[in-house]
């Protein structure tokens, strides 16, 4: 009972802080598995239609800006690096470093979303947004071409939505880090926030080759 009084963060249903941390971590990993299955449906649709319409998908993929895609991949990798350093800072009790790395993570996340916004705008200008004014040059199969871009926008859109939620999470962590809430004995939210952030990075690690690199050798 005493431990419950000394550690205000220890919730009633737990016996020890260690149990609470393990439970939170396990809970986040299971949540990430649900996210794998959630995105999984989109990956299935993508795989089926890419196989069916290989040539058109290749053509559509080549109209993407591979360097923006690659840059975005690098940006997210940087953000994962700063995130893991943030967790490490919390672990060793460096509050200032934690704050700096969280800010950097948020900035990298913002850069990613910015580049994505530019890309989407380009697609809009090029008439590659599915709808009445869609047209992809170089093919008769405008239907399947639109299918590529429907998948592109749905997958990157859903990913971007997860990034925005991630940014919100990071801001939440930043605020509490600033208030001095995280110590080497309690930094679970930073840890599991990191898990979420890395997961969103992993999704992009797959989206990049699947959407941007289908037929680059056929340029």
């Amino acid at each position: 009972m005493d431990s419950h009084v000394e550690l205000p963060q220890l919730q009633e249903q737990f016996e020890t802080p260690a149990q609470q941390k393990e439970v939170s971590t396990l809970g986040m990993w299971i949540f990430l598995v649900t996210e794998v299955m959630f995105f999984g449906g989109l990956f299935l649709a993508y795989a089926i239609y890419r196989r069916e319409f290989a040539a058109v998908f290749g053509l559509a993929s080549n109209s993407m800006d591979v360097w923006m895609g690659a840059a975005n991949t690098a940006v997210l990798i940087c953000s994962s690096f700063t995130m893991v350093l943030a967790v490490r800072s919390a672990q060793i009790g460096s509050r200032k470093a934690l704050i700096v790395f969280l800010i950097l993570t948020i900035v990298f996340g913002g850069v990613f979303l910015g580049i994505k916004g530019i890309e989407w705008n380009e697609k809009f200008v090029e008439h590659h947004v599915p709808g009445p004014s869609f047209h992809l040059e170089g093919t008769e199969e405008q239907g399947p071409a639109q299918l590529f871009f429907s998948l592109y926008f749905t997958m990157t859109g859903l990913h971007a939505l997860h990034m925005i939620v991630g940014e919100g999470l990071m801001l939440f962590l930043l605020w509490h880090a600033y208030k001095g809430k995280y110590t080497p004995s309690y930094y679970t939210p930073v840890d599991i926030g990191g898990l979420y952030w890395h997961f969103v990075d992993i999704i992009w690690i797959f989206l990049f080759p699947l959407l941007y690199l289908i037929a680059r050798h056929q340029h």
């Binding site: 299971i30 794998v36 449906g41 089926i48 893991v84 990049f208």
Partner: protein, 99 residues
């Protein structure tokens, strides 16, 4: 469970590897390997995923339960993809109209 504090060096190494692999996958995509292009691209993506999961997400030092959870997730995605493909990949194999 990250009670084990990883070194700055190991994190930096993983970070640089991820950047190198990103560059590599972009470059390899410009070379015509026929059907192997997809295989190589996915292989590199999987390696990058493993690096992020094992090192950045601390899976390497996690309990067996966490590893089973992650493995289970991968397996279930595979079930969705493979069994669905058992339909899409075998259409037209029999001379039955529409099948």
């Amino acid at each position: 469970m990250a009670e084990h504090v990883a070194s700055l060096k190991s994190y930096t190494l993983v970070f640089l590897s991820l950047l190198v692999l990103t560059f590599a996958t972009t470059l390899v995509a410009t070379i015509d390997l026929g059907p192997l292009n997809v295989v190589v691209a996915l292989f590199i993506a999987v390696v990058k995923m493993m690096l992020v999961a094992l090192f950045f997400m601390h899976l390497r030092h996690s309990t067996i339960l966490m590893k089973v959870v992650v493995g289970g997730g991968m397996l279930w995605l595979a079930i969705l993809l493979v069994l669905s493909f058992s339909d899409f990949a075998t259409r037209g194999w029999l001379p039955v109209p529409g099948k």
